[in-house]
């Protein structure tokens, strides 16, 4: 695992040396929880953003950094919860914040038109912070996960140096710290600034 990190970091650091160009992308992100994440909060998240940076090491290959924030929220109904022989009742508010920080590689299919489809993979960490609020109390759990992230998207060229993008990413953080594995699908829409 350590080797993978080192290779990824070296690739990222070396990228600008070979880079023909680079781009930055700002994206609005909608999140859909899966697995344990969905069990905790079933609602779709409409609060999220992603910042991507890619350095083009080849005309069809970009490496860079992927950072973001998605916050999931759900107001639970007044319900009864049991833990051992303790029973508690009341409303709960669930919050789940996720901050992925990943090294990323994207492959771009070269086309002659305005659309450039691409596929990518990311590897890194994701910080998750979950709160269960009840009354004036909050129960907090957090973890730094080892995270992976496949990605599919398309760039739509608007003008030289400016593209729109629509993409899907699936973030998956392995079980860590206080938390089980955390996974969510993100549907992103954004602007891309830079040259390919």
């Amino acid at each position: 695992m350590k080797k993978i990190y080192i290779i990824a970091i070296v690739a990222l650091l070396a990228a600008p040396v070979f880079a023909q160009s680079n781009y930055t992308s700002l994206q609005y992100s909608i999140g859909f929880g899966t697995g344990d994440m969905k069990d905790f909060i079933g609602q779709t998240s409409f609060r999220g953003f992603t910042i991507d940076y890619r350095s083009m090491v080849r005309s069809d290959l970009g490496v860079g950094l992927d950072m973001g924030w998605n916050v999931f929220y759900e107001e639970m109904e007044d319900a009864v919860y049991e833990y051992n022989n303790i029973t508690y009742s009341g409303k709960q508010w669930h919050y789940s914040n996720h901050f992925p920080i990943l090294l990323a590689v994207d492959y771009y299919k070269e086309t002659s038109g305005k659309l450039t489809p691409y596929a990518g993979f990311g590897l890194g960490t994701m910080y998750s912070l979950q709160n269960t609020d009840m009354g004036t109390y909050t129960f907090e759990r957090d973890a730094w996960h080892f995270a992976i992230r496949p990605e599919l998207g398309v760039l739509i060229n608007v003008s030289p140096g400016l593209d729109l993008t629509i993409l899907g990413k699936y973030y998956y953080g392995l079980k860590a710290g206080d938390l089980p594995a955390q996974g969510y699908f993100a549907l992103n829409l954004g602007f891309v600034f830079g040259q390919f």
Binding site: T24, L26, Y28, R47, G48, F49, I51, W69, V71, Y73, E75, V80, N85, I86, T87, Y88, S89, G90, K91, W93, Y95, D133, M134, G135, T136, Y137, G161, F191, F193
Partner: protein, 208 residues
């Protein structure tokens, strides 16, 4: 220009995201919480009677030797005790005098907790207005703001005088706690709802 647009877009996205961060409860009663715990090896169904004091002690945490404890005002205590008695009766319990050898004692208690949080321009005391562009120059002593909230809890404990722990003290067989945000008025409905719920989620207390 493009860099400025990017920065503006990024700032706007952050501000928008922060501005719509979910805020949780809208009303005080949404924050009412009920908690119960019990000894699951204790057989409540073989018991039938209980006794309780006529006042609700207020736990202040600063009682010194020789001092009398504080009690919550009688008008409120009377209502709360009636709510408790009604629930106990509905579960088949009979309230008797303490001298009549009851199966269980019910001890009610209450307490309040105030949480104060504050923030201020803690550097203001030092620069004292040398840098008026910083915003709070001229305020001395420091300009600060604070906020607070107070929660109240009522605890009900059922004790069997014949079941004692290693130190000779009786052990609680059931405890119910209701906790809520104080709003400045005694909201009978909120209290009654919470007390009813404490008994509803404790079906093992039913002796019928």
């Amino acid at each position: 220009m493009k860099r400025g647009f990017k920065f503006l877009l990024f700032t706007a996205a952050l501000a928008l995201l922060w501005g719509c961060y979910p805020q949780g409860p809208d009303y005080a009663e949404e924050m009412d919480v009920v908690l119960t715990t019990h000894n699951d090896e204790y057989d409540f169904t073989s018991k039938a009677t209980y006794a309780r004091p006529n006042r609700i002690v207020k736990i202040t945490g600063n009682l010194e030797d020789g001092e009398d404890p504080e009690f919550i005002p009688d008008p409120y205590a009377t209502k709360i005790l009636k709510m408790i008695d009604d629930n106990m009766a509905a579960l088949g319990w009979t309230k008797i005098d303490v001298a009549a050898n009851p199966d269980l004692f019910l001890f009610p208690a209450s307490w309040e907790t105030t949480t104060v949080f504050y923030w201020y321009d803690y550097w203001g005391w030092w620069y004292g207005g040398y840098y008026p562009g910083w915003g709070y120059g001229g305020y001395y002593p420091p300009y600060y703001m604070y906020s607070s909230y107070t929660t109240a809890s009522v605890m009900m404990t059922l004790i069997d005088p014949d079941v004692v722990g290693g130190n000779g003290n009786p052990l609680p067989q059931w405890t119910g706690v209701i906790n809520g945000l104080l709003t400045g008025v005694f909201d009978e409905t909120r209290v009654e709802t919470a007390i009813d719920k404490a008994f509803t989620i404790s079906p093992y207390l039913n002796t019928k």
